[in-house]
């Protein structure tokens, strides 16, 4: 074996220097590798860090409201939980819920804004959910290939429309149509904003619901067909119930989006802070209030802090809603996968 090796190539014993160099090289590579891994991991943390920073920095501007002494000259602008929850009391008139941040005696009652947000959101969901869910069932259960090839890009296009464009459409076109059609007193109202908001929510509900429907295992459908059920029976009695948590999650995620959506409601709702439950009154939502008023407030004033507090409320609320939605999606996947094995 010695002679064989010697015949082909003389074997060079690595000198101590070469060994050291190789070791150094390997150690260098390993160090670089470790540094890169740490850097990648650190960057991955940015998403978590962002969520954390959003909470901290939006809260940082809002919270002094609750313990800071009123600034000199602004003693009458006392803001605390009871002024936020309202109503505003008057000596000579009945108490009312008021959002009137720019006045001699600013009033910061949140209920009008909350009612406004709920009204537009409810209309949006009532409008979007049936359409999106039925279309999702159509697309996953009944539609021939060609129809699916129209529906999918339609939804993607709809999802791609910037919200300012939807707001513009609602403001310039839809509002006039609705007013003529229903003989409404006010051009910009909760109904108008809600429908436009629904247009933004449809793609979300559709996508999540369709995902849920298509993840229902084929074996479910086959078993149903084998028992003699036809397509719509299978769809209603087997596939939809199995996918229900996912469909529900879609509605929940759509709700979260609708609550936080800003430009559409800002442009299409009329922005009057009222507490009526009529769907044809103008409304002012939480998000639109921030967008409309933040540009003109004095930094550090109670008004400024209340707007950030609204931001905190929106953030916490949508965070909770999204977490619920995600949980439902995951539970559905777990359930269907568990039953597949």
């Amino acid at each position: 074996m010695d002679s064989e090796a010697a015949g082909v190539l003389p074997r060079v014993e690595p000198t101590a220097a070469i060994q050291r160099a190789a070791g150094r090289n390997r150690r260098f590579t390993q160090t670089v590798e470790k540094v890169i891994e740490a850097w990648v991991k650190l960057t991955a943390m940015s998403a978590i860090l962002t969520i954390f920073l959003i909470f901290v920095f939006v809260g940082r501007e809002a919270l002094p409201l609750l313990w800071e002494d009123p600034q000199p000259g602004l003693e009458h602008e006392v803001v605390n939980w009871s002024t936020l929850a309202g109503p505003t009391h008057y000596p000579d008139r009945p108490s009312r819920f008021m959002w009137q941040p720019v006045s001699n005696v600013p009033k910061y009652n949140l209920p009008p804004l909350i009612v406004g947000t709920l009204k537009t959101t409810i209309i949006a969901i009532l409008f979007a959910a049936p359409l999106a869910i039925l279309a999702a069932i159509m697309s996953s259960e009944f539609a021939p290939r060609w129809l699916r090839e129209i529906v999918k890009p339609t939804i993607e296009l709809l999802a791609g429309i910037p919200s300012v464009v939807l707001g513009f459409f609602a403001l310039m076109v839809l509002a006039s149509w609705l007013q003529d059609l229903l003989g409404l007193r006010l051009r910009l109202n909760a109904l108008n904003a809600g429908i436009a908001l629904g247009l933004a929510v449809i793609p979300i509900i559709f996508t999540v619901a369709e995902d849920a429907l298509t993840t229902v295992p084929k074996s479910y459908r086959e078993a149903s067909f084998a028992l003699g059920a036809n397509r719509w029976e299978t769809a209603i009695k087997i596939v939809v119930p199995a996918a229900l948590p996912g469909i529900f999650a879609g509605v929940v995620l759509g709700f979260g989006r609708a609550v936080g959506e800003t430009m559409i409601v800002l442009m299409a709702s009329g922005n009057a802070a009222t507490t009526t439950w009529s769907f044809t009154d103008s409304v002012r939502t939480l998000s639109a209030t921030v967008a409309a008023e933040l540009g003109e407030v004095v930094f550090g004033s109670p008004h400024y802090r209340v707007l950030f507090l609204i931001g905190v409320l929106l953030f916490v609320f949508t965070f909770a809603v999204n977490l619920c939605g995600e949980m439902y999606v995951q539970r559905l996947n777990g359930r269907l996968e568990g039953s597949r094995s």
Binding site: T43, M263, M267, E326
Partner: protein, 305 residues
């Protein structure tokens, strides 16, 4: 049995309802696009695209707004793509399956995608403009107001955080599509993990990364709420040239022009044309992203088999 249930009215009605819902959605999109194209397209000309607004927004064009939008998304892309791609690389290539940290990152990403855009606007103002900009000013510029005010860099960074989930999710999908044997071959040849990622995996998913970048740009170009308080301005006499300049932006232009114009009827043609331009821009970007992605999927398929 089968015949009777097929002619069952409930079934017919249900399928018909599903069909009507689908048709309604398609029709609504057609109406929206139709209106905007019909009233907007005639107003678009080369001069409109390049000129500055004049006569108190009743005349001229949207050149500065297009330039501002462009500058904004370029800055945003520079910030978001490396951050998003590295995060995706961590999640797909480095994290161990079922690791707690990876799970936390995933939850954070999906929640970040759900944070309302107006909250990003508040965050941008509170964190970037006030805190970061304010700190830079007080340490580097002796408290002179340089970065502690709304500026294009802060708007771009705010948008970068908003679009981060888009890039992460798209890149993750692209990385997962690279077959495992490519990685195994590389590792078996003695390459380290990073060498494998950098020289073997990433080159195979440039298209995926590109898709993520384009989708982020199309999303960012249409967002108004996050940039309202972090840098966008309604009218500026000059184009932004420095990172701390304010800028004009298409979406913000549409918002202000349609809500605060004293005479909407007069600005209507210009408004529709501006909306048409913004919509065309986002759709072209989206179409490009979809095209690149489907090509990318096809190119990977043969090596999968």
């Amino acid at each position: 049995m089968k015949k009777s249930s097929r002619s069952n009215p409930i079934g017919v009605v249900f399928v018909a309802l599903c069909g009507i819902a689908t048709a309604t959605i398609v029709a609504m999109l057609a109406v929206i696009l139709g209106q905007i194209v019909w009233f907007g397209a005639p107003g678009v000309s080369l001069e409109f695209l390049s000129a500055a607004p004049s006569e108190g927004m009743r005349g001229g064009g949207i050149g500065p707004a297009i330039f501002g939008t462009f500058a904004l998304v370029v800055l945003m892309t520079i910030a978001v793509v490396p951050m998003g791609v590295l995060t995706a690389i961590y999640l797909v290539e480095y994290s161990k399956p079922g690791s707690r940290f990876a799970k936390a990152v995933n939850i954070a990403v999906s929640n970040l995608a759900g944070v309302p855009s107006i909250v990003f606007g508040l965050f941008g103002l509170g964190f970037f403009v006030q805190f970061l900009g304010g700190t830079i000013d007080s340490t580097l510029f002796d408290g002179k107001l340089v970065f502690g005010q709304p500026a294009i860099i802060w708007a771009a960074l705010t948008l970068a955080l908003l679009t981060l989930p888009v890039v992460i999710v798209t890149t993750q999908e692209a990385l997962r599509a690279v077959p495992a044997n490519a990685r195994e071959a590389s590792l078996a040849l003695g390459a380290t993990r990073w060498q494998t990622v950098y020289k073997v995996v990433l080159p195979q998913c440039t298209a995926g990364v590109l898709t993520g970048g384009i989708l982020a740009v199309s999303r960012g170009a249409g967002e108004v709420a996050p940039i309202m308080f972090t840098g966008a301005a309604y009218f500026l006499p000059s184009l932004p040239t420095k990172l701390n300049d304010q800028f004009m932006e298409l979406g913000y232009h549409i918002y202000v022009m349609s809500t605060q114009s004293p005479n909407v009827e007069q600005t209507k043609p210009i408004l529709f044309a501006t909306v048409f331009v913004l919509l065309a821009l986002t759709f072209i970007l989206n179409a490009a992203a979809i095209g690149i992605r489907s090509r990318f999927r096809q190119s990977l398929r043969p090596s999968d088999a």
